[in-house]
Amino acid sequence: MSPAARSSVGTIGLALAVGAAALFALGWGMIAVPPGEVVAGLFGSGDPGNVQIVRELRLPRVVTAIVAGAALGIGGVLMQALFRNPMADAWSLGLTAGGQLGVALLVTAAAFSGPAAIDFLRNFEGVSITLGAMVGIGIFALAMAALARRVGTVTLLVVGLMLGFTVQGIVSVVIHFANRVGGRVFSGWNDGNFASVTSADLPMLIAPVIAGILLALHNAKPLTALLLGETYAKSLGTDVTRLRRLTLAAVVLLVAPITAYCGPVTFVGLIVPHFARAIAGTARILPLLPLAALGGALLALAADLVVHAPWEQHFLHLNAVLALVGAPVVIALLIFSPTMRGQR
């Protein structure tokens, strides 16, 4: 099959799989709802108890998982193209940590500047924590982009992961002091979690992601040229400086709301682009975007399903599940992938 045909077939197949997984996720849980009732419940008809479970309890979580997976998958494709580094991703390069730090510092600053600031933050929680995450991610992204010019692929990866650990330490201290106001913002925040998003939060979660996706589509063609390196991209008519800025902006728009609402979701952005490339049979960016979005959504949904399966007791966190899948993939990439050859 040609890459074009592979991309189309892969996109359709993944879309069907995401739809099926979403339906299943809406029905599965401590209280099982049969598929027919799930569909009826989505439209508000059927048993009122089921309607409430499907629409109010499970739908926000499922939508969040799909949006987060799609955003992180596309973010990963952008990061790997921009850094020309198969290990790049918002989480692995420490951008997510920057976002967390931004939110933590914002909440702390509000806590110390008095009740008025806290009230303001409470009233505009969605906007303010997303903005806090955006600023943090933006600053860390610029720093890592500058560092990427001096060090190699794996060094950059290690620096990014270390940044993550450092920030986690700082955040845990900050949270201790800001706990009085932090409230919902920090619940389960070090582990990643799709369940704390309510339907009222969804617009603020989704709007920046849509903007980020549009920006990604806009940049897909010049990013493909950048795969040949900066000079060749320039000789093909690309304004590389502008491209870098727009792509980083897209990454910020995609990753900041997810970090703000769901905490650090690991591995999705790192491994999904590799699967997307394997399905498409090409590294051209445009066909990868839908594949990575749907692949990310499927992975996030599946991991969330495992977390929220009707276990006797809750013992699995989202990032634990993602690590079980993601870490072996990353290790295999580091050891076997031809693209990592000579970059150690």
Partner: protein
Amino acid sequence: MLRLNDLSVGYGAPRGTVLAHLEVEVGPGSFVCVLGRNGAGKSTLLRTLSGLQAALGGHALLEAEDIAAMRPQTRARRIAVVLTERPASPGLAVDDVVSLGRQPFTGWQGRLTADDRARVHTALEMAGAQSFATRLFDDLSDGERQRVMIARAVAQSPQLMVLDEITAFLDLPGRVEVMALLRAHARRTGAIVLLSSHDLDLSLQLADSVWLLDGRGGLAVGTPETLIADGHVGRAFDTNAVRFSPTLGRFDLAAQV
């Protein structure tokens, strides 16, 4: 037609001006070799003519249009570049790389028309890269990669093709083949091909005209025969140990001259 009009190239301090007040004209379909020792300014000159670097003074005109003032998209449609550096491009197939040559002509999606596809096909054939068109670019040998990059430049259907020391990684038969196919390309399409090289012998045999940088900011232009006869080659390359012999058309150790 390519015209250098009082062109000066170089950098800011400390390196400063490398070549100053160049006046040259090149007609369509010419295969031009740019020769000179390391540091003579070959790459600086070629980067300036590609629009990758600003000129310090004067103008380089392609069909009477200032290269530096062209919009990037316009420039990409008229000038193609191949460099020494060996790009690594994880996941790109050879066909993808050559198709990128058509990118300046496509819409926002980068979708190729039938005409674009035909040009990519012809370019692959011309560069002898067709047999590995479906392989991954990163899996190729240095010589194969260089052919692919040349095919990409051909697919760009430029009026001016600039190639900077692209033969450095090739063996002798590879160099002869590549230079011969570039010359044939210039003849067939009317494009101007500018190639910088360290292959003095080959360049002097194949070039329509030679730009000889003497390493002291001077540029001599002419056919290989006149440059040799006038002693320009010797002045540019002779050292205490090696001298260019005009009668033999090659270098000799100084003691034997």
